[in-house]
């Protein structure tokens, strides 16, 4: 019993001195991180520990205000993403995991720390040790919310500061099939379909029309008849004309140098005119007695 008491007397100074030792701090942080699946809940003291000037680790700190009375809607919205990223970081192998920490500090636990609005994410690079950035900048950088509050981009950006990229798995999330999400894939699909259909593809399908007639003729005689090849040619002409129109309408106005813009306008106008006359001549072949023609 007495012996115990003496022992404690001995140990006490050590234990008091312990915080000074970065390894000890590190271990503590690791524990804290593990305790709160990957995200350390900070208060002012632990915040100082985490961001201590001679840290060998990097850290991403979320300053937020989850308390209802703070009425911080964005905080509420962003918090899950941050938690999610932190969780997914906790799944990486230990040595990487322990060299970067995720932490969140609630306003009510660390008023003094807050300087700007919330939520905000500071990324502290390591100040010492192997992971100290080459340029030596150890000042914290701030996550840019223009990437949105979603977890995906957050993980993506933070990965620049972690030893290995954060293995963030979106939950059951649409952003997976980004291709399908991108409307332009759909746009292309739609336009192609309608082009093919309006150039008589179904006719060739149903009638089983040949790809092209014998002796190299590729235009089927007769108004209500056509070869497979015609479908392609006509579809392409339509497509070209349509895109020429789009160019004139959508692209040209954004050309900021007058000369280049002028060039474009003339180019596309001429293209339209020529292709149109080609189309007409083609039609006149199919439908004799069609009275109108442009160039040819």
């Amino acid at each position: 019993m007495l012996l115990w008491y003496i022992l404690t007397l001995f140990i006490l100074p050590f234990s008091l001195a312990a915080p000074k030792d970065s390894n000890a701090i590190h271990d503590e942080l690791v524990k804290l991180a593990k305790a709160n699946n990957g995200v350390i809940k900070l208060d002012e003291r632990t915040y100082d520990l985490l961001t201590s000037p001679k840290r060998t680790w990097s850290a991403a700190v979320q300053l937020t205000a989850m308390d209802a009375k703070r009425r911080c809607a964005p905080c509420k919205e962003f918090d899950p993403s941050f938690k999610e990223v932190g969780r997914s970081w906790s799944t990486v192998p230990a040595e990487e995991r322990n060299s970067h920490f995720f932490a969140t500090l609630d306003f009510d636990n660390g008023m003094t720390v807050f300087q700007k609005s919330a939520p905000i994410v500071h990324v502290y690079p390591a100040a010492e040790g192997p992971r100290k950035p080459a340029n030596g900048r150890t000042a914290p950088s701030t996550y840019d919310f223009s990437f949105g509050f979603e977890a995906g981009p957050l993980a993506e950006q933070l990965s620049h500061h972690t030893p290995i990229p954060i293995p963030y798995q979106a939950p059951f999330n649409w952003s997976r099939w980004g291709v399908l999400k991108n409307k332009w894939t759909w746009a292309v699909g739609t336009v192609l379909t309608s082009l093919v259909m309006t150039s008589g593809y179904m006719f060739t399908r149903i009638r089983g029309a040949p790809w092209s007639g014998g002796n190299g003729q590729w235009i089927a005689p007769g108004y209500q008849n056509q070869f497979g090849q015609e479908t392609q040619v006509v579809a392409m002409i339509y497509g070209l004309l349509a895109s020429a129109f789009l160019m004139l309408t959508v692209v040209t106005p954004y050309t900021t140098s007058p000369s280049r813009q002028k060039a474009q306008v003339y180019l596309w106008s001429v293209v339209i005119f020529i292709m149109y006359s080609v189309l007409l001549s083609l039609f006149r072949v199919k439908n004799k007695g069609y009275p109108f023609k442009l160039l040819l």
């Binding site: 379909t193 399908r205 002028k262 106008s269 109108f292």
Partner: protein, 769 residues
């Protein structure tokens, strides 16, 4: 304003003045467009006369006359004993009465204000009148998509585009005449309901949907388009209260209303065509509930989960529907509808549908003929819709895909493609005009920021992020600023100089003018002939009218007993009923395949076989169309093979198609024609005494371009009753049994003093029946 302008525009105008002027101009423009739409459809009346066209319109006209003369209830319970003799037809329950009701109402209304317009003229002019309304509806619809100017363009396009005129010239008194207006207006109301989320517009859509259901079988198109749109929006995560209100009110009211049409009845809950609507309705309810829950919790995962479960439930529902279909509680797709997907289906199983010319697939020239330059503006317009992908644009996009597919499969469905093409083209075209008419010039930029010049694609790809513009690193900031596009950097984009503007504008105007020429030419030359009356040119170039059909029909009407039954191929059923006013065996409402096959059999078998059939059906006269003399290609010999096929479908062992070809497999009517062909009733009637007309010379069939045998066929059981001036219509009377009980063949040969020919006893016995 810092920006320079390419040309001077009057600056000091009060906004009210501008607003008033523009609205006035709009009204004037719409009025002119309507006038043009109506006028361009009157070629038929001017070149020929105010007459009902084609085939089906004659039935509609007849039905309308019943409605006008005997009132609505009589019409509703009208049983027509003269059609499908001897079966008769319950007309009231087997038609879409919308068309007749419409003209009936107009007729009575005019009568009420002492304008006793002849019902025929109302019927003839109904289609042009409604085309004006269609133009207006299209204007409203496109206005929702872009703005008034686009709307006016669209209205002008649809007003004169041949693809629509082809089914709505004066005199083509068919369901399509009013259907397209209803289609466009229903869609407009739907879009409106979707945008404002007002139950009122939802109900308006429902009411017009009901009108559509009552007017045209094609209403199934709406029934599936709107749910498709709703579904797409949901999948795009664009569910909203507006969608819920709009759709629910449309579906609930619309479906209940549509079930009031006798011909539709319980189909909306029974047949697959309507299941999509029902399914989406259910799905919406689920989602609405989910959204309710979601609004109270805030965890992202939970939401995702909920969403997944919603989708799951939706799929479950669809699965359920499919299951019920297999169980047979829900009728599967009807043949006509199904043949749109499995394009080989019709030819195999429903030759009657396949035999109709307007059910053939469309070759590209028809597309160009019907839509001209709209057809390639159309994709551009679709892209425009994608650019600012608002809910209503999704509709246009879906419509574009679906309609272009359908139009490709069936010529007749070109009609449903036309409106969306006009709308899309109008959007593209007016955007072009907006860009190049806008007098503002952007100021030139320092080359440093020349980056965004290629920003068109990148802009849109990052459009989403752009919504939350926030302070961000420089490189980012630029992207974002591009992304926000027209709004933030309006002054940066635009056209420099006047020449560029002039060039493009002139080019565009040229296209428009050309389009007008094209439409006028197509309409006047191709789409304005009432197929009842044929036009040819005299040597001196003046118009010569070939009026054989009416000549023969009128002869029937005036000089045969009221109850004389006329047999003809079904194409002419409605015309005979309408013009000759005589009972017919089959007509264009092809509901009874067997009956049609019977006629086909009679036509394609020998006299001996055909005679008992004719007698059993009390046929007094047989009417056929024969173009051999003046080269009218749409005659019965050319349709003959379909008769054979359809007959073969029912009596495979008695009628075989191959027998009607020559050994070399050709379809001929000259000496080499197969014996079966030569013995067939149709052949005999067509060429009866035809060769004699040429005196000594070699008789030539001008349609087939083949030489007709010198010794023409002889008829024992029939008797030529009437032949029209150009031999197009030939009417034969069926002889009664011989008084002495001989079979008519021997009786005939006896009368001609010949020695009794030995003919197959079997057939003789059958003949005496």
């Amino acid at each position: 304003m810092a920006t320079t302008t390419a040309y001077q525009v009057p600056a000091n105008l009060s906004p009210t003045a501008i607003a008033n002027t523009s609205s006035l101009l709009r009204i004037v423009a719409l009025a002119l467009i309507s006038a043009a739409a109506i006028a361009s459809r009157l070629f038929a009346v001017i070149n020929f006369e105010s007459i009902i066209h084609e085939f089906d319109p004659w039935f509609n006209y007849r039905a309308t006359k019943v409605l006008a003369s005997e009132g609505f209830y009589a019409f509703w319970n009208w049983f027509d004993p003269t059609a499908w003799y001897p079966l008769g037809r319950v007309v009231g329950g087997t038609i879409y009465p919308g068309l007749m009701a419409t003209s009936g109402v107009i007729f009575y209304a005019l009568k009420a204000i002492n304008l006793p317009v002849d019902i025929r003229n109302i019927c003839v002019l109904l289609a042009p009148g409604f085309s004006a309304l269609t133009a207006w509806a299209t204007y409203m619809f496109t206005k929702e998509m872009k703005d008034e100017s686009a709307g006016l363009l669209a209205a002008a396009f649809i007003g004169i585009v041949p693809g629509y005129i082809s089914r709505s010239v004066a005199g083509s008194y068919d369901n399509e005449a009013i259907a397209i207006f209803l289609l466009m207006f229903t869609f407009y109301a739907w879009i409106k309901a979707l945008k404002t989320g007002s139950a009122f517009f939802g109900t308006v859509a429902a009411l017009f949907y009901f009108y559509m259901v009552a007017a045209w079988g094609g209403y199934a198109f709406i029934t599936n388009m709107i749910p498709l749109h709703a579904l797409a929006l949901i999948l795009m995560g664009r569910y909203s209260g507006r969608l819920y209100v709009g759709y629910s009110s449309w579906y609930a009211v619309g479906t209940l209303a549509s079930m009031q049409v006798p011909f539709v009845g319980f189909q909306p809950v029974r047949t697959s065509e309507h299941m999509a609507a029902l399914g989406v309705f259910g799905l919406l309810q689920i989602i609405a509930f989910a959204e309710l829950v979601r609004s109270h919790v805030s965890s992202k995962q939970f939401r995702a989960l909920l969403f997944a479960s919603v989708i799951g439930l939706g799929l479950l529902g669809t699965a359920g529907i499919v299951g019920m279909t297999y169980k047979g509680w829900i009728a599967p797709w009807t043949g006509r509808f199904y043949s749109l997907w499995d394009t080989g289906y019709a030819k195999k199983y429903i030759p009657i549908i396949a035999s109709v010319s307007e059910h053939q697939p469309t070759a590209w020239p028809s597309f160009f003929m019907d839509l001209q330059f709209l057809i390639f503006l159309f994709p551009a317009g679709v892209i425009m819709c994608f650019r600012q992908l608002r809910d209503e644009h999704v509709f246009v996009i879906i419509y574009a895909i679906v309609a272009s597919y359908f139009a490709g499969v069936m010529v007749r469905l070109m009609l449903t493609l036309t409106p969306v093409v006009c709308v899309a083209a109008a959007i593209a075209f007016s955007t072009l005009l907006d860009t190049y008419l806008n007098p503002e010039q952007p100021e030139e930029e320092t080359p440093s920021a020349a980056v965004p010049s290629t920003a068109a694609p990148s802009e849109t790809s990052s459009a989403k992020k752009g919504k939350k513009a926030a302070p961000a690193p420089a490189t980012l900031a630029e992207l974002v600023s591009n992304a926000t596009g027209p709004e933030s950097t309006k002054r940066k984009t635009g056209i420099f100089g006047l020449d560029t503007r002039l060039l493009v504008i002139l080019n565009a105007l040229g296209m428009l003018v050309f389009f007008v020429w094209h439409c006028t030419w197509v309409t006047s030359s191709a789409y304005s002939s009432p197929s009842v009356v044929l036009a040819s040119a005299n040597p001196d170039g003046s118009q010569h009218i070939i009026d054989d059909f009416r000549e023969a029909y009128y002869w029937l009407r005036q000089n045969t007993p009221e109850d004389a039954v006329v047999m003809s191929w079904w194409d002419y059923g409605y015309q005979i009923a309408g013009m000759a006013d005589r009972p017919t065996l089959v007509d264009n409402n092809t509901w009874n395949n067997t009956h049609i096959a019977t006629v086909g059999k009679a036509m394609s078998s020998t006299e001996e076989v055909a005679y008992p059939i004719l007698r059993k059906h009390d046929v007094d006269y047989v009417l056929i169309i024969f173009g051999g003399l003046i080269g009218y290609s749409g005659d019965d010999i050319n349709k003959f093979l379909w008769m054979v096929r359809i007959a073969q479908g029912v009596w495979p062992d008695e009628i075989q198609e191959p027998n009607y070809f020559t050994r070399t497999g050709e379809y001929k009517i000259d000496d080499q024609a197969s014996q079966t062909m030569k013995d067939s009733l149709m052949y005999k009637m067509s060429y009866y005494r035809f060769a004699e007309l040429f005196g000594g010379q070699q008789a030539v069939d001008r349609v087939r371009g083949q030489q007709v045998p010198k010794t023409g066929p002889t008829l024992d059981y029939l008797d030529e009753a009437f032949t029209s001036e150009n031999w197009i219509v030939r009417i034969f009377q069926v002889k009664k049994e011989d008084l002495l009980g001989r079979d008519l063949k021997s009786a005939n040969s006896f009368d001609q003093g010949k020695k009794k020919k030995r003919s197959k006893p079997s057939s003789r016995r059958r003949a005496i029946l």
